[in-house]
Structure formats: C-alpha cells, structure tokens
C-alpha cells in the first residue's frame, strides 16, 4: 500500500509537467465525484474449517440509475483451483458491502458477482426510496494509439481527504495476442478498477489487467490442466473497453445464473509434434478428448478424436496447452443459445475427412463457487449443489449420482464431532435422499423442528460411502 501511495504522489507531482494541458481535471473531477464511490467490503474467507473476515476498501463506479456498481473483483474473489480440485472449500464471500458516495452518504449494497474474464465485480445499491443515482456511461474509443495519454482518478488511503487523486498513464502498446488489449504504463495494481478517461475527458473504460490465457476463464478442472504454468510477474495493465463493460452491465454475472456459452467437450492442444506424427500439415488445432453426453457437441455430432481446425471461419492456431483458454474463452463469450461453426478433421483408418459442423451452444455449467449454497446453523455446516466439475473431478455418473457437497464444517460443531468433513457429498439426511440444496434445506429445517437426538447422514467420500451419526445437543 505504501508503495502505491508513493507512486500516486509521484504521479501528482509530474502530472502538470507532462500532460496537464491535455486534461481538464477540474471538470473531470466534478463529474467523477458524482458517480465514484468508496466500497467497504467485508469478505468472509473460509479455508476448510477456518473462517476469517477481511475488510477490503476499494473504488467503485455507479453505472446505472438504479445503483449498479462495478469494481475490481479480483481482490475478493476466489477461484482457487487446487483447493476446489481437492474438494476443499476455500471460499471468499462478500458478507456485506457498504457504499459511501463522495458527498458522504452511505448505502448498503448486495453483491452480484464477478466476471471471470475481466475480473470486474458487480454489486447493487439498496436504497430505501426509489432513488435515482447519478451514473456513468462509457463510450468506446477505437482510435487509441501508442503514445496517447489517459487519465484516472485513484482512491487515496482512508486517512486522506478528499479521497480522489488524478493520475495519468500512456498507451504503451496495442497488443493483438492473446487478445486485442490496450496496454498502458504509468498506472499501478492498486488503481485497477478506476475509470479511464481519454484526453477529451470521455470515460472510455476501466483500468484492468490483461489475463494470462492459461489462467483466465477456466473452470477449476480445466485449470488443473495448466497448473504447471508459472504466473506472469509483469503487470499488464490497460483498458477494459467500453464495449465489454456495457455488455456486462446489461447482463451482470449473477451468482447462480450464468450465460456463458458451453460446448461440452474435453480438449487438448494439437501440438506441431502430434500433428506431424499424424501426418497433418497444421500449425495447431483442438483435439477433442471426450464429448459430454447430451451436450451441444454431442448433438452436433462431434466425436472423440476429432480435431477442430476452424471456429466461425477463423483458423485455430492452438499448439500449446496454455492457449486452449483462447478457444474456451471464445466459446464462453459467445454466450448460450449462439450458433457456432466448426471445421473439423476426422481421422478414420488412415483417411482424413474434413467436415463442417454447426452447434448451438448451451448455458455453461456452474462452477463450485457459483453453485447455490445453504448454511445450517444447527449442524454448522455449509452445503452447496453439485456442479459439473464435481462429476468431472471424481468421475461420477451424472445421471445416477446425486447429493450436496459439504463446503464447510465449523470447528467444534456437532457435524465435526460426528466426523463430517469438507468435501463429503451428502446423499441422504435421516431417511430422506437429498439431491439438491433445496431438498437438504427442507430436511435440515424439519430436523430443526423435530429435534431428534441424533441424525444419520449417508455421505460419499473418496470413492466410498459411509454413514455418519451426528449427535445433537438442542438448546
């Protein structure tokens, strides 16, 4: 934090010398004060049995009349693939969000969700009356070039008043791989989430980070395929552009509801070595390793072993596992119900056929952290619905295997004493089978009323099932 503060101070000093004449900061600040807010977020972070609250303070921007706010979600989100793979639940859940406007009013807000690709977070202010908030609209700026200057207002530490300080940065590169992204220098990590202005004072987007495709937009299971990758250390800050933001504002990434496109294949990069081994003159492609039954890929007639070489007319040049995410992202961002076109190669007995295939994408399955959950205060356990990744990781049959996943077991709780562990999949509670959090909740609430002396849970753990007898101690 100190470091960031210093760099902001430095920026303040050098600002007038370098580019002051390009920006009308007084006018911009006046506008910014209308829609810029300070978010005080309390995040409950739980790791297995442990649970701690963290406070996070950050900048937010009101983007709709009814009080939708966007902010940098990367600080509070959790997508830890390893723990999810291991069935452990490391979870960061925003418990409460306090919104403070620049004129000192406070509101509470409800957390909505975080976009997996831009890492933008969304929350909604709760106003008592039908408040109409002042909000910001973003305008696309397509003509940015290297050397152009941009400005932001960064959030100063809590003990400094007023809260906003201007900073400037320069467009340093317009990269095309792994995606089109306007890179900037002059900003730092702690300014992520601030609104970016061009020299005319127009809000053109939000300061964000270019994601390594090896890490962006992957489900935990897919993430495991690339966990040998070393994290990039060079901060790649730049513009999350207005187009993307506007799309997200229209359709925020609601927890429990997603609209990401999904094809239903397991995939592998076609390395040049494998291509050469199979006698294919290709500089990359996607090998389909498995087609999920009844998925869009299955309906479209894709088969295990097929090699996707074109998507919507564009060549696929995926020749390394790290770049699979580019393809996955394109599918994901296309959205559900979208039609996509593939060109595939099918190898049969030494013959290679080229086929064109159309598929209509489905809605992407939920990730474990998006799944609906429920906290039971008697047994002190948190449970969630099973998601696609659970079936995938444990190789369970999607049709026949049902249950709810134990996310957390509180230390010293009845459940812990009885031997329940995070990662257990509860298949029945008492004499009732439970196939969803809703059913489990109904059953647990009934138990809360009946107050039996003990409850027998039937759970699945590490390829086996067992009964867990939990003794109760009702007040």
């Amino acid at each position: 934090m100190k470091k960031a503060f210093l760099s902001i101070v430095v920026a303040l000093i050098i600002t007038p010398i370098l580019a002051a004449q390009h920006f009308d900061f007084a006018k911009m600040l006046k506008k910014a004060n209308d829609y810029t807010v300070v978010l005080n977020i309390t995040v409950a972070v739980s790791f297995g049995m442990e649970s701690t609250d963290f406070k996070y303070r950050g900048i937010g921007t009101v983007v709709s009349e009814d009080g939708l706010i966007i902010f940098d979600g990367s600080t509070i989100e959790n997508d830890d693939p390893f723990s999810q793979m291991a069935g452990l639940s490391v979870d960061a859940v925003p418990k409460s969000i306090e919104v403070r406007t620049m004129d000192g009013k406070t509101y509470s807000a409800e957390f909505i969700g975080i976009d997996r690709f831009t890492r933008l977070g969304f929350c909604q202010m709760q106003a008592n009356t039908k408040n109409k908030f002042k909000f910001l609209s973003f305008k696309s700026q397509k003509s940015l070039k290297v050397g152009d200057w941009t400005a932001i207002f960064a959030l100063l530490p809590d003990f400094v008043k007023p809260s906003l300080a201007a900073d400037i940065g320069m467009v340093s590169a317009i990269v095309s791989e792994p995606e089109r992204f306007v890179l900037m220098v002059g900003y730092n990590d702690l300014e992520i989430g601030s609104v970016l202005y061009d020299s005319t004072g127009e809000a053109i987007g939000i300061l964000g980070r270019l994601q390594n495709p090896a890490n962006a937009g992957l489900s935990p299971a897919q993430m495991m395929e690339s966990f040998s990758q070393v994290e990039d250390f060079m901060p790649l800050l730049g513009l999350i552009d207005a187009g993307k933001i506007n799309r997200l504002i229209e359709n925020p990434p609601t927890k429990g509801k997603v609209d990401r496109g999904w094809l239903g294949i397991y995939l592998q990069a076609l390395t040049t070595d494998i291509a050469e081994f199979w006698g294919l003159k290709l500089n990359g492609g996607i090998i389909i390793n498995e087609v999920v039954k009844d998925s869009p890929a299955d309906s479209a007639g894709l088969e295990t072993g097929d090699i996707i070489i074109r998507l919507n007319g564009g060549n696929i040049l995926v020749d390394r596992e790290e770049n699979l995410a580019l393809f996955q992202r394109e599918i994901s961002e296309s959205g559900a119900e979208t039609q996509v076109e593939f060109t595939i190669l099918r190898r049969t007995d030494g013959r290679v056929d080229t086929l064109d295939i159309r598929a209509t994408l489905a809605r992407s399955p939920l990730t474990p952290s998006e799944a609906p959950d429920y906290n039971d205060d008697n047994f002190d356990i948190k449970i969630r619905d099973m998601v696609f990744a659970d079936y995938n990781i444990y190789n369970l049959d999607r049709q026949s295997f049902k249950g709810v996943v134990v996310k957390e077991v509180e230390s010293g709780s009845w459940a812990e004493v009885g031997g329940m562990q995070p990662g257990d999949i509860i298949q029945s509670i008492g004499s009732r089978k439970v196939t969803s959090v809703d059913e489990a909740r109904t059953q647990l609430e009934k138990i809360g009323t009946d107050k039996p002396r003990e409850v027998v849970f039937f759970v699945w753990r590490e390829n086996k099932t067992l009964f867990i007898n939990i003794k109760t101690h009702w007040q």
Binding site: Y266, Q268, D273, I274, F277, E454
Partner: protein
C-alpha cells in the same frame, strides 16, 4: 462379538490376578525369555526396488526377523523384505548368510525369507511361536531386533493394548494398503525403525507378535502383528507363496450407536457402508445400508471398529468360490442374499521400468481398479514419471492409464511389455501414447533423444 466381550471381561479378572505376578517377575524370567529367542534373531539387510520415481531404484534397507523353522525360514515384515531383490542376513553369532524371498503379504505386512545355510557351520537356533490370543494388557514383553541398525538389541515393556485398530487406509512404503485383516498389539517396549520384523516375546520365551510399526512423534508406542495372525500367513505363504483370500467387495462400518437407526439389536449385524464397483457383493445386489446378520448361519457383528478386521478375515478365510448365504436386514425386512466369493488377488500388479521413455508402470489389478476408480483393468498404470525425460516432457503423469501405443491397443500388461520392447529395439524416436486421465482420453507424444539413451543417471 460374544467372543470379544468375553475376552474383555476376562481381562478385568486377570488384571487383578496379574498384580501379584508382576511382583513375582524376576530378572531370571527376562533372562529365560532372552535365551530362548535371542539366538534366533536375524539382522536383515535386503536390497529393495522402488519404482515410484519413474525408474527402478535400488535401496539397501535394514530390518529384523526371527527364525521359526530349522530349515532356515525367517519371518519378517513385508515392508522390510517383501520387495527384496537380494538379502543378506546376520545371525546372532555374527555370521552372515544370504537369504531368498519365499513370499509376502502386504495386507498383514508379513514376509517369509529362507536362509541359505549351505555355507553356515554354526548351529541354527529357532524360536517358538506362542499364542497371541492369551495376551493380557500389562503383561511383560521383550522386543528384539536392530533399532536404527543396532543389531541384537533387546528392550522391555508391557502390552499396552491387545487389539489396537487402525484404519485400513494405511499404506506401506511401497504403496499397498495394509492392516485390513488384523488388529495390533500395542506395547511400550521401545520399537524404532530397524526393529521392523523382529519378534515381540513373552516371558515364557515365545514369540507373540512381529514388531512392525512405531509412532514417530511419540515415545513408547509401538505395534506388533499378533502371532496368531502371522501363523496363518506363514502357513499360506509356505503352501502357496502368497496368501489367498476370498473377497466379496463390501466396506463395513462399525455400527456403534446406530442400531436404533437401522432397527437392529445391539451387538448384532455388520453395517455395509459401501459396495465396491464390479464386485461379487454388487453383483449379488448388496447395498449400502444393508446390515449383514449372518454369514452361512454364523452370527456376525461389528459394533466397534476393533471388530471390523475379524469380519473381513471371516470372509477372507473362506475358500475362493464359496457360496456365502448372507442373512441381511434391509429396512424392516430380512432378506437372503447369496454371494460367491472371488479371490482378492494382488493389491498391485507387476512393475516395469520403461527407462528409455522415462517412466514406470504397473499391471492393473482388480483392487487397483477399485481403488483408483478405473472403469476396468485394461492398460497399464503409470506409477512414476522421471522428472526429466521424454515422458515428463510429453506431459505424462503419475496415475495415467496407458491404453494404446501408437494407436494400437495394449489392454494387457504383456501387450504393453511386448510393444515397448519392440519399439525400444528399433529404436523409435517418436511414440504416441493414448492415456486415460480422470476418465478422459489424452494423447502424449514421447520424443526420444537417442544421445541421452545411455548417459542417464544410474
């Protein structure tokens, strides 16, 4: 259950009687026991092979053993000699002789080796195997062996517990699960690494257990396999070279306090927690939640986890292929189910080090398939990948199942073995493996660099 209950009552009575015998114990008793067993103590130094780092690694280890037969048979732990390639033994008179592995049983952690006495001119001592069922808590025992390779060491203590239960999820260093079919004698006689395989001896000078485990974070907590279990294992190994067990694929759970829930009487029945996929129990229709009341009209019960090994052993002791009539309580009904036992088989398959390709594989046994949730036993199981080598570079991982080489199926270990030898003879510079990983297919291309073939580490 009845049997255990009786022996528990027995313990209380005998304990009060035992006080006087503690006082009566004299130095002479310890000398007596020492003289009867110590001459039969063997210091064992096997060279064992380990495949887990992706290549065949040889390692010299140290353990203990005791001679129980005048033709030179020695009982020790499986984790000492079960994977031995060659064995050198030092006898009590400090003479060294070679020994060969006769057979081993990872599930009870017992192995039998035979001394090569052709060049030994001393007189061979031999220990008498006692009765572990009559052991009492508090009874004096001696542990003999080579703690930290310090041979011919004797320590003294008491029996701390006669039937310690451990979860059968424990694994031997070589990776096999162990302990399902026995409980353990716990003792405070000092047991340290190197004591493994040595005898636990009562003051009558008879072997009552084979020392095999110690807790590394505690003092005076050591564990021995009861000799009555060991005697049966010895008999089977001498007869068949291994222990043959019947298997039905049921995971049982202690009933403790759940009788009310399952509607059974106290001390009656064994709760089925889980049924292994593709097992005889599954084929016969046994389900989780069933309570097995009788097996071939014999009452079975496991109210406490200490009783589970007896239940498993009861089934294991039937001849393979026996038709078992199970009386089963399911919900409110009592039903009868016939299960035909199959042989448990090897926990793990044969090892092969594919040095040229930089990994090791195991043949897949029934039990490996169950444990690793494989849908069948086809292919070979990658047990280790060398840190640097064609396999590591190609992305092969431990736990992958190789199903094809160059897109030619290799369902059996021998198919794989044949194809591997064929390709390293050529030698092929590129090999495509089709593997299954988490149930999905993956292609792994091995690029074999010829110049590094023979310069590899050894």
């Amino acid at each position: 259950m009845k049997k255990v209950l009786i022996s528990l009552i027995g313990l209380v009575i005998i304990w009060s009687a035992a006080r006087s015998s503690i006082l009566a114990t004299s130095q002479a008793d310890v000398y007596y026991a020492r003289d009867r067993v110590l001459p039969a103590l063997v210091h064992i130094q096997p060279v064992v092979t380990d495949f887990r780092t992706g290549r065949e690694m040889k390692q010299s280890v140290v353990g203990s053993g005791v001679i129980f037969h005048d033709s030179g048979y020695v009982v020790t732990n499986y984790h000492v000699a079960g994977k031995a390639e060659r064995i050198i033994c030092t006898l009590f008179d400090k003479e060294q002789v070679k020994a060969e592995l006769i057979g081993g049983d990872p599930l009870t952690d017992i192995a039998i080796i035979k001394l090569d006495l052709s060049e030994y001119h001393g007189s061979l001592a031999m220990a008498e195997l006692g009765d572990s069922d009559s052991l009492q808590v508090g009874q004096f025992v001696l542990a003999m062996g080579s703690p930290l390779a310090l041979s011919r060491s004797v320590s003294c203590g008491v029996v701390s517990t006669t039937d310690r239960y451990f979860s059968d999820e424990a694994r031997l260093p070589s990776g096999e699960k162990t302990g399902r079919y026995n409980t353990w004698i716990q003792t405070d006689a000092a047991i340290n690494p190197g004591n493994s395989g040595g005898p636990l001896v009562n003051l009558e000078g008879r072997v009552v257990g084979i020392n095999s485990r110690a807790t590394i974070f505690a003092n005076n907590i050591g564990f021995a396999i009861p000799i009555n279990i060991v005697k049966q294992v010895i008999e089977q190994i001498l007869d068949h070279g291994k222990v043959i067990r019947s298997w039905i694929g049921v995971q049982a759970q202690a009933m403790q306090d759940m009788e009310g829930w399952f509607g059974t009487d106290r001390d009656r029945g064994v709760l089925v927690a889980s049924v292994d996929p593709r097992s005889p129990a599954e084929a016969a229709g046994l389900q989780a939640g069933d309570v097995i009341l009788k097996i071939n009209r014999r009452d079975v019960s496991a109210r406490f986890e200490e009783q589970l090994p007896y239940f498993y052993k009861l089934i294991a002791d039937y001849a393979v292929g026996t038709h078992l009539d199970l009386e089963v309580q399911r919900g409110e009904n009592v039903i009868y189910i016939e299960v035909i036992t199959r042989e448990l088989g090897d926990l793990m398959g044969q090892d092969l080090a594919c040095d040229e390709w930089g990994f090791t594989v195991k043949a897949i046994t029934k039990q490996m398939a169950v444990e690793n949730q494989l849908e069948d036993t086809l292919g070979v199981f990658v047990s280790g990948v060398k840190r640097v080598g064609p396999a590591a570079e190609g992305g092969l991982r431990r736990g992958d199942v190789i199903r094809e080489i160059n897109e030619i199926p290799t369902p059996l270990y021998d198919d794989f073995y044949g194809k591997y030898n064929e390709l390293i003879a050529v030698p092929a510079d590129k090999v495509l493996l089709t593997v299954k990983r988490f149930g999905n297919v993956k292609y792994v291309l091995l690029k074999i660099k010829k110049e590094t073939d023979h310069s590899g580490e050894r």
